[in-house]
């Protein structure tokens, strides 16, 4: 992504409040999507991400702000004249048309001749590996198959922007992973910009070039998956993306420098911007455990007692009681049965992995 490339889609300071609602659904939202980019909008339900998507598709009008496509203002363009296609959360396949007719529908609306549109629709079905299902009706398909047809219908016209509204929400875990791979390779192949709405951070982080995390109608953070994951800009992002311990700390000047105090004990190396009460986020997998009494070797160290252990397959989640706090550590399950309830341990983490939030 270079700065020189003009964004294919940009939203400028969008405000939207629904009739009768007290809080705005969208509050001064601005973002730009580059051509061919995989852009995710991540947020909990009610954060406004679906409203944002519907705004791009043209089903909602912003109260304030503009929607631009390739530099052209399309705020007042009705949905059927926008070069944008949507994969609906519910798939929205036409129940009275077979798979092929469903996929050919956008071409038919565009006035393509029958032979041409059926040929194109067939190609598109092969693209999503559903070539053998052309004559089926939607109710004869499984959820995963319907999902692929909805995808095929959306890409058959090669729109410049494809919107996906939690498309994998209704699928089971295995299908979801298969579809993720398929979506990514399809996006590479077609070069269409994808705007992908999800509440599943795993999907957002694994597939996207960039992610916008939304909270209460605003963009809480916009960046690459790495930035979002390792440098969350707010407590909300830290908690919503990944799994983090949020620990209350005090920041006091000590020995000439600001020092973070956890439960009264100093944490060497943790950078704090100013003094006062604050909270420190540290991801589960950044916390290590060692037998009690072992030297810390440059890491921050807190003594505690194992309270309980959850077996998650690839990892163990160990809940450690440290004075008045609980700290959870995710350790590889290969470390085996080393930890049992009631056992005294040392909680270790590197200062670089901790992020401090004030306020």
């Amino acid at each position: 992504m270079t700065d020189a490339s003009q964004p294919i889609l940009s939203l400028a300071r969008i405000d939207k409040t629904y009739d009768g609602a007290t809080r705005p659904a969208l509050d001064r939202v601005s973002l730009a999507v580059a051509p061919g980019e995989f852009f995710s909008i991540l947020g909990p339900s009610g954060s406004g991400k679906t409203t944002l998507l519907r705004m791009i598709a043209g089903f909602e009008r912003p109260d304030v702000g503009r929607v631009l496509m390739d530099g052209e203002d399309i705020t007042d363009v009705p949905p059927f004249r926008r070069d944008v296609r949507t994969v609906f959360q519910s798939y929205a396949l036409f129940p009275h048309m077979n798979v092929l007719e469903n996929v050919a529908y956008p071409l038919r609306m565009a006035g393509a001749r029958k032979a041409e549109r059926l040929a194109k629709a067939r190609d598109c079905l092969h693209l999503v590996s559903m070539g053998d299902f052309a004559a089926r009706l939607p109710h004869q398909l499984s959820g995963g198959q319907r999902q692929r047809i909805a995808l095929a219908r959306a890409i058959v016209c090669r729109p410049r922007v494809l919107l996906l509204d939690e498309p994998l929400g209704a699928l089971d875990l295995r299908l979801r992973q298969q579809m993720q791979h398929m979506l990514v390779s399809l996006q590479r192949e077609l070069g269409i910009a994808f705007v992908y709405v999800t509440h599943d951070q795993g999907e957002a982080l694994s597939m996207s070039d960039r992610v916008a995390v939304m909270s209460e109608g605003r963009i809480a953070q916009l960046g690459t998956p790495r930035e979002i994951y390792f440098a969350p800009s707010s407590e909300f992002v830290a908690q919503f993306v990944g799994r983090s311990n949020l620990l209350p700390i005090d920041c006091e000047p000590r020995g000439g420098a600001l020092t973070a105090l956890l439960d009264g004990k100093p944490l060497p190396g943790v950078a704090v911007p100013r003094s006062g009460a604050a909270r420190m986020a540290i991801r589960f997998e950044c916390v290590r455990l060692a037998p009690a009494g072992e030297p810390a070797e440059g890491s921050c160290s807190v003594p505690g007692t194992v309270e309980d252990v959850l077996f998650l397959g690839n990892a163990l989640e160990v809940n450690v009681r440290c004075g008045g706090l609980n700290i959870i550590a995710a350790v590889p399950s290969a470390e085996g049965e080393r930890f049992a309830s009631g056992q005294p341990v040392q909680v270790l983490f590197d200062a670089a992995n901790a992020t401090v939030f004030h306020g």
């Binding site: 009739d19 598709a57 043209g58 089903f59 909602e60 009008r61 109260d63 009705p78 949905p79 059927f80 004249r81 944008v84 296609r85 949507t86 609906f88 959360q89 519910s90 798939y91 929205a92 396949l93 036409f94 129940p95 009275h96 048309m97 077979n98 529908y105 956008p106 038919r108 609306m109 565009a110 009706l137 939607p138 109710h139 219908r153 959306a154 016209c157 209704a170």
Partner: protein, 578 residues
């Protein structure tokens, strides 16, 4: 572990079943045979007999059919009847479709009120509605007095009443609510996401309608059309009240064969011909209306979101649509309103200007002994019919739903057959059946005749409720330690009570309003509608307006209560159902 499991004997039956006596299926078969199969076979059988000296001779012959085959006037009449009903149903659908579309997909608030307002006329006595039209169209009627009074016509025209047109108009009036309900239900069910998907695919509003909305609502149009067609095609009340000579329909001929003409075999043969042609018409309509595919219900039925910032042009369009939407309501309610108005008018002439308010006509009613007797009889009949139908229907619903009836699908359909038989034909079918069983005309006959079509209606309502019921509820109850009987008392019955009571009330209005079947069965003991019908044949008294107003108010109250109960039942169902 696996060894233990495999050693256990596997139960052969499905685990979740109410263990009621398995004899429960037999009443269903018995009802079907006694009230559906035998009567209809009797009809067919009678059509192959002949009369001599006013008595039926048991002498198999096809004379009646030969006579019909040769009778050009019969064929003309049959075609005319079918064409009039077909036309009325078609016009009804044409009017009802935009109304239903507006109510289901444009209106945001008070949708249920708008729907209820269309359905209410269905429950107002048919006699009353038809009579209202006579009042409007007649030579001294309101339309004529208006036209003459405003100088458009020099003298009252005879062109409005007693023509084929007046029958068509009244049939259309009867058809609209049926078409509306069916179409509205289908349009409301179309998920909004499909409309959006179509727009998203680049379809304009018109293309979306043509390729998505219309195909998905077409089956419902066929159903609404069929209902309306069935209601009017066997109607002999309307043509004899507003049709005159030109508006004669085949139902009147059939009725007269069982009345004055007293030729039952000939009447039966006409009825069989009518049923067969109606069957053919409906089969064609249903075939033309079918659409492949099944709505899966997981498409998400998001209500349409109001568009903001309407331009002045669009706002004007909206206002125009709202006005156009209000017009059919005017058409539906103007006749009823006129009738109420006239019941307070101090004049025995049904015309404007009004000559002052009076309660005279209501006072006259209170002194009318034969009418009060008829009211009493109507109540007795209504209560008997409702009791018999509701108890039977509830039992049958359990039997069918919990697999106590073999071929449940078939019997569910077969029991509902009387509802789908044209009114006049059902009337004579029940005459034949009760005659054979030597039940004298009067209350007993009426109860049996009415129960034949009230029971299926209640059955459909209760069965629909049972099917929406979450099976896990019963399992949860048993799991909590309740036995079958306790589960029935504490869980099952309370969840379907609303449907049963609602069905019973609906059944009562059906019973209390019925003329078509009852007229054949009442003999010398008329129910209220029959009494009114007899009065009107002797000539008009304004008291009739007063009776109808009272009956209308009564029906309305029943509907409001019934609607409330059904709504509560469905609201409870929505919480626990799928």
């Amino acid at each position: 572990m696996a060894d233990i499991a495999s050693d256990l004997p596997m139960p052969a039956t499905r685990p979740m079943r109410l263990h009621r006596i398995s004899l429960l299926g037999w009443p269903v078969y018995a009802w079907f045979i006694v009230l559906v199969l035998v009567p209809n076979l009797l009809l067919i059988g009678t059509s192959f007999l002949r009369t001599s000296n006013g008595m039926i001779a048991f002498d198999p012959t096809i004379a009646s059919y030969l006579r019909l085959w040769k009778s050009a006037s019969f064929q003309f009449l049959l075609v005319k009847t079918l064409a009039t009903s077909f036309g009325a149903a078609a016009i009804g659908c044409l009017i009802a479709y935009p109304m239903a579309y507006y109510a289901a997909r444009v209106v945001q608030k008070n949708r249920s009120v708008l729907v209820l307002l269309v359905i209410i006329p269905l429950w107002i006595s048919l006699l009353m509605r038809v009579f209202a039209w006579r009042m409007i169209l007649g030579q001294n009627g309101i339309l004529n007095s208006f036209l003459v009074g405003s100088g458009i016509l020099d003298q009252p025209s005879e062109a409005f009443l007693y023509t084929g047109f007046s029958v068509l108009l009244t049939y259309t009036y009867i058809s609209i609510p049926f078409c509306f309900i069916a179409i509205f239900t289908a349009l409301e069910k179309i998920p909004h996401s499909l409309i959006e998907a179509s727009q998203d695919s680049g379809a304009s509003a018109w293309q979306t309608f043509r390729h998505v909305v219309w195909p998905l609502s077409r089956p419902a149009v066929a159903i609404g059309f069929s209902l309306a067609f069935l209601m009017t095609v066997g109607d002999y009340i309307t043509p004899s009240m507003v049709g005159g000579i030109d508006g004669t329909m085949i139902g009147m001929v059939i009725a007269s064969q069982f009345g004055i003409a007293n030729n039952w075999p000939y009447g039966s043969a006409i009825a069989v011909c009518l049923m067969v042609s109606v069957g053919v018409v409906l089969a064609v309509v249903m075939w033309a209306g079918q659409t492949k595919g099944v709505l899966m219900g997981d498409e998400g039925a998001r209500p349409p979101v109001a568009a903001h910032r309407l331009s002045p042009g669009r706002r004007l369009l909206r206002a125009g649509a709202a006005v156009a939407f209000a017009l059919p309501y005017l058409f539906l309610y103007a006749p009823l309103a006129l009738m109420v108005l006239m019941s307070f008018n101090d004049s025995s002439v049904q015309a404007f200007p009004l000559s002052g308010a009076t309660l005279r006509w209501y006072g006259e009613l209170a002194e009318n002994g034969s009418m009060l007797e008829a009211v009493q009889r109507s109540l007795v009949v209504g209560v008997c019919v409702v009791l018999a139908s509701t108890v039977t229907a509830t039992g049958f619903a359990f039997a069918i739903h919990y697999g106590r009836v073999r071929q449940a699908r078939f019997f569910e359909f077969a029991l509902a057959l009387p509802v789908a038989i044209p009114g006049v034909v059902l009337g004579i079918v029940m005459v034949l059946a009760t005659q054979l069983a030597q039940i004298p005309s009067g209350v007993g006959r009426i109860v049996i005749g009415q129960a034949s079509f009230v029971m299926p209606v209640v059955l459909m309502i209760v069965l629909a409720r049972l099917r929406r019921l979450d099976g896990a509820l019963l399992e949860a109850s048993m799991d909590a330690g309740a036995n079958h009987w306790q589960t029935f008392v504490h869980v099952l019955f309370p969840s379907i009570r609303g449907a049963i009571v609602g069905g019973a009330l609906l059944g009562f209005t059906l019973s209390a309003d019925d003329v078509m079947v009852t007229l054949f069965l009442s003999g010398t003991s008329p129910t209220l509608p029959i009494w009114v019908w007899n009065q009107m044949r002797f000539g008009f008294t304004p008291s009739v307006n007063a009776i109808f107003t009272l009956v209308g108010v009564g029906s309305l109250l029943a509907i409001v209560i019934c609607n409330r109960l059904l709504n509560r039942a469905s609201a409870a169902g929505a919480g626990s159902g799928r």
